[in-house]
């Protein structure tokens, strides 16, 4: 199982370009292996966004530890770091050549829009897990979501602030009311 975990995160590492684009990949791998529930996965995104350090590393640690304890966490992080330790060393060694090369940029022109397509698909599935409770729309969570969207897009609040705010609202609206 540790090997499977490692291989999963190697795949995620090599096919992701930047933080958010990792979410669809990790989501699919976690759910298809049944290492996590959809709810766990939503929580992990919030936790990874709130704690310092690179998003991908945070996700990998959390996911790995959920699956197989501390050793699992370390294995997952090593997996996700493999591109840095192989491909990037190579790139660093021939840095002057890559500086002018258009190859990677040409690939990004196609990959970035593809990532956006994937992220939209993930958002839609998240909407189902987070706002639908037993087939009906939960108005409290929907309200918190709408407020969070407003704070992020219009008032440019930072992500940790928004998360703390929605946690408090969650306690008040769902816990007390």
């Amino acid at each position: 199982m540790l090997l499977e975990l490692y291989w999963t995160f190697v795949k995620v590492g090599f096919t992701s370009f930047g933080g958010t684009s990792m979410i669809p990949l990790i989501s699919q791998e976690m759910l298809s292996h049944e290492w996590m529930t959809a709810e766990d996965f939503s929580n992990i995104i919030a936790i990874a966004e709130m704690t310092p350090g690179p998003f991908g590393v945070n996700c990998a640690t959390f996911a790995g530890m959920q699956v197989a304890g501390i050793l699992g966490g370390i294995i997952a992080v090593l997996g996700v770091l493999l591109p840095a330790f192989t491909l990037t060393i190579f790139v660093a060694a021939c840095f002057s050549k890559f500086k002018t090369s258009q190859t990677f940029n040409g690939i990004l022109v196609v990959i970035r829009p593809a990532c956006i397509g994937m992220i939209i698909a993930v958002i839609i599935s998240l909407l189902q897990t987070n706002y639908l409770v037993g087939g009906t729309i939960n108005l409290y969570t929907l309200g918190i979501g709408a407020l969070a969207l407003l704070l992020l897009m219009k008032y440019k609040w930072s992500v940790p602030k928004v998360i703390i705010c929605s946690a408090i609202l969650g306690i008040i609206c769902i816990g007390v009311l």
């Binding site: 929580n43 990037t88 956006i116 969570t141 969070a148 969650g170 816990g175």
Partner: protein, 209 residues
């Protein structure tokens, strides 16, 4: 001559002077350890990804230690961004490599990931212990409600640079349909995208020639 030299030396701020001297005298091993320490330090205090880390790197290595120039740092960033993997670890690797070879690169990457791993390990243990608590559960449902907007807003800013022409909109649409209505693995979709990109570059090059 000696007098002029001493005058010049006192003119520069003492701390900067020391830093520069130390870095030029150090061997690679010590440099690696220093890189590790620096990246652990910024790894502890950076929220929300790459850009704030870059600002700190600029302050420390460009303005204070003069290890690299600002242009070099920008080059590192533009290359590091486009290599697969986590952007900031790629940038740390290339940067560390330039300062102190492979050893420096490895030290930097381990340095930047180390705090994240420790913090997340602690959180995961707490999460497992507390997620069934009633109040924690309520807070988590509130937080989960904010996750979709958070992803949406970061996708929005990604979209501004990524979706510029009809071609990119088409790719985005096709991938969305593939993800929603087929069970093709996301890894496969990305690999197909890479192949498509290489073919596309080939065609463009041929047309230009």
């Amino acid at each position: 001559m000696e007098i002029i030299e001493t005058v010049q030396k006192t003119e520069t701020i003492e701390s900067i002077e020391k830093e520069v001297q130390v870095t030029t005298q150090d061997n690679k091993f010590i440099k690696g350890i220093k890189l590790f320490a620096f990246f652990v330090k910024i790894g502890c205090f950076t929220f929300g990804g790459g850009w704030s880390i870059l600002a700190q790197m600029e302050q420390e290595f460009v303005n204070k230690r003069h290890d690299i120039t600002k242009e070099e740092l920008l080059d590192i960033v533009s290359v590091g961004k486009s290599v697969p993997g986590i952007m900031i670890t790629n940038i740390s690797m290339i940067f560390g490599y330039q300062v102190a070879g492979i050893w420096g690169g490895i030290c930097s990457v381990i340095g930047i990931t180390f705090p994240a791993v420790v913090i997340l390990s602690i959180i995961t243990v707490c999460y497992a212990a507390f997620k069934d608590n009633y109040w924690v559960g309520c807070a988590l449902s509130g937080i989960r409600a904010a996750v979709a907007p958070i992803i949406f807003s970061s996708m929005w800013s990604l979209g501004k640079t990524a979706l510029k022409d009809k071609f990119s909109w088409c790719i985005c649409g096709v991938v969305f349909l593939l993800c929603s209505f087929t069970s093709i693995n996301n890894v496969i979709i990305i690999l197909m995208g890479v192949v498509l990109a290489i073919i596309r570059m080939g065609v463009i090059r041929k047309n230009a020639a």
